[in-house]
Assembly symmetry: C2
Homo-oligomer: 203 residues x 2
DNA sequence: CCTACCGATCGGTAGG
DNA sequence: CCTACCGATCGGTAGG
């Protein structure tokens, strides 16, 4: 993470992530970050150009990780169900491995400058398109119901993203177990399937 | 909404909602709100005690509406599936009827003072408990799979809440149609059920 | 990485 | 609802 950076800059970014997550980007001051890094506010500017550079790095580093993850999934010869399971697993893996950066990535990208925000939205849309492609494949193969692809992909993603709100490493559920539960939920829903049945079954 | 308030105060609250939604609470200044209300910043203080009173009113008014909605659902003799459908319908109804306040309610409650935040979290938990009760009832009745109740309730809610991100009144989907699609998704998931079958069906 | 400091903006008050 | 203004804090720069 944060490749081609000095260790000190990586450290500052890591501290900034935690503060942005806790207080929100807009409510976090450069002085907060300096205090966490145990330097005077002005000293930060020998490492960074400004506050927004920190937000920018967090958002685009995470976007890159998510895009690589969905790229992997779409390069593999799986059916739609297997692809969905892998996409969910990768997504949960990233959220739990980078909990601070993930919250900032999901919530605070709005504070990017207009240009960078546009760029960010394009990357995010490309990621969502990865999920849409999986849903579309499932519908085409007859494995999934004939849902609205955009609607379904966004519903899936939003049901995954709330995990950042409660996940703590000490928790009993491992990332892969969370992913399995969510995959099952997305695929089969809450309702119990019909029990073993004799004779004509109409759905 | 905003009962027992002067019309002018209601107007200010309505303007504040839109600004908070657009820029976020922390990044919205009292001067922004004053400009929207076409008065000098100091004039706002004859209507409100401070900026936080606006956030407080928005968050607790919405909490009240959501709690009333889930209360209705739990007072009715429905089975779990019907209750879930009604809870989803009511939830989407509120989100789409109050889109600005809903975003602030879902996102900016973190900026309440510590005391009020604690109070707010209690109300929100009571609302979530309404959903947990429905899931629990479904599991007890044998209508739902034996899921983790807390996990399922939060997954359902997060899949509902993202609707505020894309809903616009001009859109082709009516609130009740959105609710129906989401209810179906939550109950049966993406995967197609087995087709009409003769003979023994094993799940 | 520091001291010293900038102009701008913040939420809010006094007094009418 | 206004004018006038407060002290605090903001992101950031100059110069070493």
């Amino acid at each position: 993470m944060f490749v081609s950076m000095t260790d000190r800059k990586k450290e500052i970014l890591s501290l900034a992530q935690a503060l942005f997550r806790e207080k929100g980007y807009a409510a976090t001051s450069v002085r907060d970050i300096a205090a966490a890094a145990q330097v005077e506010p002005a000293s930060l500017y020998s490492h960074i150009k400004g506050k927004e550079e920190l937000l920018d790095a967090i958002c685009f580093e995470m976007a890159d990780k998510f895009l690589k993850a969905i790229g992997e999934v779409n390069d593999i010869y799986f059916d739609a169900v297997q692809k969905l399971a892998m996409a969910v697993k990768n997504h949960i893996q990233l959220l739990t491995e980078h909990p601070d950066a993930s919250v900032v990535f999901l919530r605070d990208w709005r504070y990017l400058s207009d240009d960078r925000k546009d760029e960010f939205i394009k990357l995010r849309d490309r990621y969502e398109e990865g999920f849409r492609a999986i849903v579309r494949k499932g519908v085409d193969e007859g494995a999934f119901n004939e849902v609205d692809v955009r609607f379904a992909a966004l519903t899936i993603l939003s049901s995954l993203n709330w995990v950042v709100e409660w996940y703590h490493e000490e928790g009993k559920l491992q990332p892969n177990e969370i992913a399995d539960q969510l995959t099952k939920f997305v695929l089969t829903g809450l309702q119990k399937e019909l029990p073993v049945t004799y004779g004509l079954v109409t759905n």
